[in-house]
Symmetry: none
DNA sequence: CGGCGTTCACAAGGTTCA
DNA sequence: TGAACCTTGTGAACGCCG
């Protein structure tokens, strides 16, 4: 380990530098053209200490160490530095150890390094803040991207939800605002399609005729769902015929899903919450459609209700998303 | 002197420089190959006493003891020392006990140690002063840091608060005025965002629908917190987009913190004090978000409530400060 | 890529204490 | 006296913005 720490700078290196520095007086121009021949080497030399240089630093061609030295010392009061030999003529070449600070700094200034180009504390702070900001933004984008890609069911099922525990949310404030807006869409849709004309219905009275059955609940539910979906901006942006196509394709299935979600198995009643809708009993299905229908509906309910956990937000979003499916693929899966 | 340009450097430097220096076979290669044989030991040897050396001391490769010896004795007049054997040829190797001072010092000087590099009394004093100054600055910064940001629970818990007992306050009169102003900001924010339209609600009635749930409490809390923060001068001075960014990033977390603080575990109710807000029961979480959420919220409450000790000033200041965090770092810590 | 700042490992002084 | 430690300064390598 430590044995590798020794480095003897040999004369070879020095001599190569010397030969470079003595070659010509128009170093810069020549070096640019000459760099094609030995491209692996830096063609520049530090104007302060003769070491290899990469390019300009504070408006002078310097090596990395002189650059760092200048940044560290140039802004400090020069008086505090003292010449080692007290004559101000110390050698500050790169191969000298313990270079006199004062003389090195003076040489820096002499050769044209500008202390004005050193960033002030304030500028440095600003730059740092900008970097931090970019870092955050990048992280945010990465998070959002990984959210978007995670729609595969397999991935969803394998998510470790414990990671959500520490107040962490995949949704930001704007996401939540949007969700609230969408929730309002549904409330609005229900309001827009109140049951008129039969409001005098006793609340818990079974439906007598087939016509009433189909007005209540399928019809009213359809109307509400249509109103709900049509408020969504993304839906409005579709062509008219596409809107019709999707509604026609999916509405009936949507209705049945919605009915599942508003069904209460304890009372065997369907009822839209917060409305004056009459209560619709499960037994009433028997009167018009065959019993098998209601049984299968309850079966499907059992299958999916755990997934949704009666989370109203999830349910309403699901209905919305479902309406955009344009093939029967999803139905064959279910 | 000119022949031994020895540097101690790390592996990376050597490997990068090797292309420059491998061409010739000088001391470097000799030392390198020699060092590979006993790599477990320090490859350097004290030029004075042959003990293991770590690097240069006063421009010669020496051991720690010779370094200390040289510093202590080099500046003293040589005449005062007397050779033990009076012939100036004592052995000063490391395995000799009671080495002759005079001969050792002479060997030091012979082998190239420079007494000029020993700091003079004045330089030593200056250096000491600088260290002391830095120490003070550092301590000051640490204090400020621990006052402002210290969110690490361990540190907080280990603070000895008894030092605060003697009527001592870190805050002056103006600090307290500012704090009262900020308290007023929150009161104002609550006033500005009263719950309208449902003020006739019976006070203790559980929330029935998801919509109400999200209007009450998240929504109203969000609005109040935004109003609160926006009154702060320091926040107003941010660029519009930065304000939006911070709000977007932190508001939801802030909401949850605030809800924790207004939660009363005895009654299982959330309620903003001094308002006519309806009381929101902890059980209501179950209806929309899963139960786990409320449980974890209570867990977090248990973890942090002791720190805040229900001190309203601390809590409100914490919310304010928290809003300025621009990375997710703090959340990952919590 | 050029040219800033930052980071990190280490050189090389001094200081402490057994 | 000397091992262990603490300090600042240095410079190579790297990160980041324009
Ligand atoms: Zn240089
Ligand atoms: Zn000088
Ligand atoms: Zn020695
Ligand atoms: Zn002697």
């Amino acid at each position: 380990m430590a044995n590798n720490h020794v480095h003897l700078e040999n004369n070879q290196r020095i001599s190569t530098k010397r030969s470079l520095s003595t070659q010509s007086s128009t170093e810069l121009d020549r070096k640019k053209s000459g760099s094609t021949s030995k491209r692996h080497k830096s063609p520049l030399m530090c104007v302060v200490c003769d070491a290899d240089a990469h390019g300009y630093n504070f408006d002078a061609i310097t090596c990395e160490s002189c650059k760092a030295f200048f940044r560290r010392n140039a802004l400090r009061p020069v008086q505090k530095l003292k010449c080692r030999r007290n004559d101000g003529h110390c050698d500050v070449k790169f191969n000298i150890k313990k270079r006199c600070k004062k003389c090195r700094l003076e040489k820096c200034i002499e050769t044209g390094m500008r202390k004005e180009w050193i960033l002030t504390d304030k500028e440095r702070e600003e730059k740092r803040a900008k970097i931090e900001e970019n870092r955050c933004l990048k992280q945010l984008q990465d998070n959002q991207q990984s959210n978007k890609n995670h729609l595969k069911i397999d991935d969803l099922l394998s998510i470790d939800f414990s990671s959500l525990s520490n107040n962490q949310s995949y949704l930001n404030e704007f996401n939540w605002i949007r969700i609230r807006l969408i929730q309002d869409y549904f409330t609005e849709a229900v309001k827009l399609n109140e049951i008129t004309g039969i409001s005098s219905y006793p609340s818990i009275q079974s439906i007598k005729t087939t016509l009433e059955l189909f007005h209540m609940p399928i019809h009213i539910t359809s109307m509400r769902l249509i109103s709900y979906i049509k408020q969504l901006n993304e839906f409005q942006q579709l062509k008219q015929e596409d809107q019709v196509y999707l509604i026609k394709l999916n509405l009936l299935t949507l209705c049945f899903f919605h009915l599942i979600f508003i069904y209460d198995p304890r009372t065997d009643l369907y009822h839209e919450p917060n409305t004056k809708d009459p209560y619709f009993s499960g037994k009433d299905w028997n009167k018009t459609l065959n019993k098998q229908f209601h049984i299968e509906m309850k079966q499907l309910r059992n299958d999916i209700i755990d997934i949704f956990q009666l989370d109203d937000i999830i349910i309403k979003l699901f209905l919305l998303i479902f309406c955009f499916f344009k093939s029967n693929l999803i139905k064959s899966i279910i």
